[in-house]
């Protein structure tokens, strides 16, 4: 493929946001949208949006705005939504079950084939149609089913054991919800650490600032 210059992480973080708001306007029947209108919706400036999209080649026509469906479809392609990844969720507690059940992940191309847990009392159960399997079998399952993405929802203490197992397999990515940053020396495996607690501490900071301002 064509050699591309590296796109910054900040740009990549904004693309899903544009994509989401474009889906919303398309659902409302809107056909064309300007960068300023998209800016009003997303909170970014029009020039930021034009610059971000410019990284991926020409979109829209000066003064005419973007065709919403075309731009959304192009963003889908950039975001890799035309690929699908067979995935498993490790940890079949409430969070793992919520993830297995949420339809939005399937729309993003992540197909959850199984949950894994160490708790023999729930192994054999299902979450909707997704079976809960024994954590002892995960290595052979991943290898035999070409699983490429692993979602981790275990407690922090279990993460080392989980990594010991899944790093024996040829996986491509990890979506980590455990409250610990996973950093691997093997950079060929992509990791997205969700860090829910950091999000909560950010809220905590702003709440405290407000308490002190209001004093």
């Amino acid at each position: 493929m064509k050699k591309k210059s590296k796109i910054s992480d900040a740009v990549i973080r904004r693309l899903p946001i544009y994509h989401r708001f474009l889906n919303d306007v398309i659902n409302k029947g809107i056909v064309r949208i300007s960068s300023s209108e998209l800016g009003d919706l997303t909170g970014f400036t029009a020039s930021q949006i034009r610059q971000d999209l410019h990284n991926f080649g020409g979109f829209g026509q000066q003064g005419y705005g973007y065709n919403a469906v075309e731009l959304r479809d192009k963003l889908s392609e950039i975001l890799g939504l035309n690929y699908t990844y067979d995935s498993v969720v490790i940890g079949a507690g409430h969070l793992g079950s919520a993830i297995a059940r949420y339809k939005g992940f399937r729309q993003s191309g992540f197909i959850i084939k199984a949950l894994f847990d160490v708790d023999k009392n729930i192994v054999g159960n299902k979450v909707d149609d997704v079976p809960i399997l024994d954590m002892a079998d995960i290595v052979s399952y991943i290898n035999e089913n070409n699983i490429s993405v692993v979602v981790i929802t275990t407690p922090k203490a279990a993460v080392d054991d989980v990594l010991n197992k899944i790093l024996q397999c040829k996986i491509k990515g990890i979506w980590n919800f455990a409250p610990v940053d996973i950093v691997l020396t093997d950079k060929s495996i992509l990791i997205e650490n969700v860090k829910l607690n950091d999000s909560l501490l950010k809220l905590s900071y702003y709440l405290k600032e407000k308490e002190e301002e209001d004093k």
Copy 2:
């Protein structure tokens, strides 16, 4: 209080990360830590860390590093961890239950007093010690119990109805997991939108980039 200059959102996003890694080193019995060592752990540069901390006044001593416990405690204070917020979770499905059960949120000062749901079949049940109450009663419950933070874990379609109810009350913050950005005209209410799907699309983008590189 002392008038402070506004700290950028990027700095605020890094503070919880420093805080988390400091807790880890303290648990390992480490007493002093340099900005380079903290940099190696967190992936930020030593100079970035020094600059971030400088926003909040002097820490550490040139050449001696930081006292880990002192720095952690100071960050706790900056992050508002000495405040507590009585909170409720709206939506008692898997995600809401996972949040009600997770002990880390209590450590961050968010005390979950109740879950709310529209499903009469689960109203009256408990998640650990936390009762599931009827969504019809939420306005009076928030007012009578001085609830200041609301966690939303409902489907997207329910969010408008949830906001109609909770904006009748004097709440201070919203932690939103529903797959929609909440933006309010009333800027006195702080909102943290979690956007799990954006996180997944970011992973999708990098996986696709890798697929294309490997071709």
